[in-house]
């Protein structure tokens, strides 16, 4: 760990103070005095962070360009080692920025992600593109990067790489490995889910919380996807070259179907019961994906009627829930939470503009939705909602 743990703990205090400020428990002056008291990282809000991330990428790649210019002579050797050199540059940069107390700033993100990427490419070149080896090394370096710089997105890369290790590892066993893949993935994610849950419970240092939470959520998603009917069926066609003729079905189809249907509902129930917002969102996405799965193989209604009816049904669900929760003061409620209140009104307006905005000078070809001088593309002819 390169960062000062004291600073990280103060950062958590500052975040807490910020949410208390938004909730109106403390006033602006109080917050500012807290901010002055606590030593701070060089840190940015998300939009600025993205901007600096791109600048960091420019800087990193321009340094790499300059180095290649000096080193390039067309020889094989340089090509083989150049990405290792780039990795070292990345680590140097990340180390320097971390020492200068840059954290969640954008610049440091660029160097850490760049290091992982370059190291992955370097290993890929050395091992002639052997996926299992690449996945193992990427998992290794991203975990090290997480531990050293406490960089949460590196944890996400670690999770993906670890899953890849699992997959490619099973491929080594040939047919059998590919067949038991869904079950192994399911059991592994289940195991890690409870492991991370327990780890969070026993956790003493709060700055590791986000990383563990990420593993936890990742496991939930992987667990659902591992035995989703659509995923299993498409993977079995892809990996095992199983051709599924009409009237036939994949083995254990009944199990996969019931899994697809039940798991999202379990998530939803559990999320509302233990007040877990992340799980709630995962359950929404899982429900949407389950509906998509069912529609893919057993489509009853054409898409447009399904959309319109789905809209009405969703409206009814939301409306009834609002009516029911409107006057509740505790627990589950419709009242905005004072503490976790995210407000995205302006973003919403932009989304409306991008889906329903009017476009000029679309000639009336064969679409009735558009008219000469200014076509109103109201229908939004893609149904990919």
């Amino acid at each position: 760990m390169v960062h000062d743990t004291k600073l990280l703990e103060d950062l958590a205090l500052l975040e807490e103070a910020n949410s208390l400020l938004n909730a109106g428990f403390i006033n602006k002056e109080q917050f500012n005095s807290i901010k002055k008291e606590l030593p701070d990282f060089k840190q940015n809000s998300i939009l600025v962070q993205i901007g600096f991330f791109f600048l960091g990428v420019f800087l990193y790649s321009s340094i790499c360009c300059a180095i290649s210019l000096l080193g390039i002579d067309g020889s094989e050797v340089f090509w083989k080692i150049c990405f290792y050199i780039f990795t070292i540059i990345g680590i140097t940069g990340a180390e320097f920025l971390a020492k200068e107390k840059y954290y969640q700033h954008g610049l440091d993100d660029a160097f850490i992600v760049g290091t992982i990427l370059n190291f992955g490419i370097a290993v890929g070149i050395t091992s002639d593109g052997y996926e299992l080896v690449i996945a193992i090394f990427v998992a290794l370096i991203s975990f090290l990067m997480y531990r050293r710089y406490l960089y949460t997105p590196a944890m996400l890369i670690f999770c993906c790489a670890f899953t890849a290790v699992l997959f490619y590892g099973l491929f080594e066993f040939g047919e059998i490995g590919k067949t038991i893949l869904p079950f192994v993935a399911m059991l592994t994610s289940l195991g890690f889910y409870f492991f991370s849950k327990k780890a969070i419970k026993d956790l003493k240092e709060k700055y590791y919380y986000n990383g563990l939470l990420l593993i936890n959520s990742f496991c939930l998603i992987l667990f659902y996807l591992s035995c989703n009917y659509l995923v299993v069926r498409e993977l079995s066609v892809m990996l095992l070259d199983n051709e599924i003729r009409p009237g036939e079905d994949i083995p254990f189809a009944f199990f996969f179907w019931s899994f697809t249907a039940i798991v999202p509902l379990v998530y939803l129930y559990q999320a509302i019961k233990i007040h877990d917002r992340i799980m709630l969102w995962i359950s929404f996405l899982a429900i949407a994906f389950s509906i998509f799965t069912i529609r893919t193989y057993h489509s009853v209604l054409p898409i447009e009627i399904a959309l319109a009816l789905g809209g009405v049904a969703l409206f009814a669900v939301a409306y009834l829930s609002i009516q029911k929760l409107k006057y509740k003061e505790t627990g589950l409620t419709f009242k905005p939470d004072r503490i976790n209140n995210s407000n995205a009104i302006n973003a919403e307006a932009l989304i409306v503009a991008s889906t329903f905005g009017m476009k000029p000078e679309v000639k009336p070809q064969n679409s009735p939705m558009e008219f000469g001088g200014g076509g109103f593309s109201g229908g939004g002819s893609d149904g990919s909602f």
Partner: protein, 330 residues
């Protein structure tokens, strides 16, 4: 609920950052164990409107021959009337400042009603041509209608539809995904009108601040204005080889200066950041033009070696700019 939150509050108390009273207040609130579905349910309402209108749109598109025009139009009209009847019944009427409906459903009904009305008018024009060949008018009428709805019901989403309509009237597409695809470089007149539109939007915000009319709309107007002006100017900077690019460089410089001022005034970091990004792109283009002019690229090795230093310089500059902004914001 994150168990560390409680711990953090406790250590804030221990370090005397918050008073005992505040601590108890926070603790009492936390013990209510609130789990608010406010954002989620609103999102559902919003999604349901999007899904329903898209479904209806496609349905009409596909069954145009079988249902009959009159039937479609009357169904649309009924839906619109139902939406707006409900909205008018529950609205408090026009107000000059920000108004919030007690029932959040209304907001989404307003949105559904205006989208359906725009579909209705578009369909009417396509089929029966009440505006004849005046296609501009056919865009303008839904636009004016949307402006009216936006101001009457205080709805930002409808307002942004109205602004895209206004831009469509002068011939540019300002929906976020299409803004860069406009043919600014082939038709220079289009760029001038885009910049004029941006200027008009800015003037309107100044005027409406003066008469205190819906000042919270200013942010949306300014966002559109900033992006329209900057992208029009930058795409002309890129493409023109005669000396007209000087005009656009001047426009970009002026608008950047204005938005620099206004973002401080509104304390809006997003306007500030996008202003900086556009200004930086502009400066770089001019710089490349200059280097090209003195034929510096003959020494491209030197150029590549200098590049990292240039980026470090700009990063230092940006860090300073952001720091200054954050300091003012406090």
């Amino acid at each position: 609920m994150n168990k560390f939150d409680e711990e953090s509050v406790k250590s804030l108390l221990e370090r005397n950052f918050i008073t005992e009273n505040q601590f108890n207040e926070i603790k009492a609130y936390r013990s209510l164990n609130i789990f608010s579905l406010n954002a989620e349910l609103k999102l559902f309402l919003y999604l349901s409107v999007l899904m329903f209108t898209s479904g209806i749109g496609i349905l009409i598109y596909q069954n145009i021959d079988t249902i009959g025009h009159i039937a479609i139009l009357s169904i649309l009209l009924i839906a619109i009337v139902v939406c707006f009847f409900y909205c008018f019944k529950h609205s408090k009427g026009f107000q000059k400042n920000e108004t919030i409906f007690e029932n959040p459903v209304i907001e989404y009904l307003v949105l559904a009603g205006s989208i359906l009305s725009c579909i209705f008018m578009g369909y009417l024009q396509f089929q029966y041509k009440p505006f004849g060949e005046h296609y501009g008018l056919a865009t303008l009428v839904p636009t004016i209608f949307s402006f009216f709805v936006a101001y009457y019901f205080d709805n930002r989403s409808v307002l942004s539809i109205a602004i895209t309509g206004l831009a469509a009237y002068i011939g540019i597409s300002v929906t976020p995904q299409d803004l860069v695809n406009n043919d600014f470089h082939t038709t220079q007149n289009l760029s001038y009108s885009a910049i004029a539109l941006g200027g008009l939007l800015v003037l309107w915000t100044i005027y409406s601040s003066r008469i205190a009319l819906k000042t919270h709309f200013n942010f949306i107007y300014l966002t559109f204005a900033l992006h329209i002006i900057s992208i029009a100017a930058i795409s002309n900077l890129l493409d023109s080889y005669d000396l007209t690019w000087v005009i656009f460089a001047a426009v970009l410089a002026l608008s950047s200066f204005y938005f620099y001022k206004i973002s401080y005034e509104l304390k809006s970091i997003s306007l500030y950041v996008f202003m900086i990004i556009y200004a930086y792109i502009g400066v770089n283009i001019v710089l490349v033009k200059f280097l090209n002019f003195i034929e510096f690229f003959d020494f491209w090795e030197l150029f590549i070696l200098i590049l990292p230093a240039y980026f470090i310089g700009s990063i230092v500059l940006f860090i300073k700019l952001i720091k200054k902004f954050n300091k003012e914001k406090l």
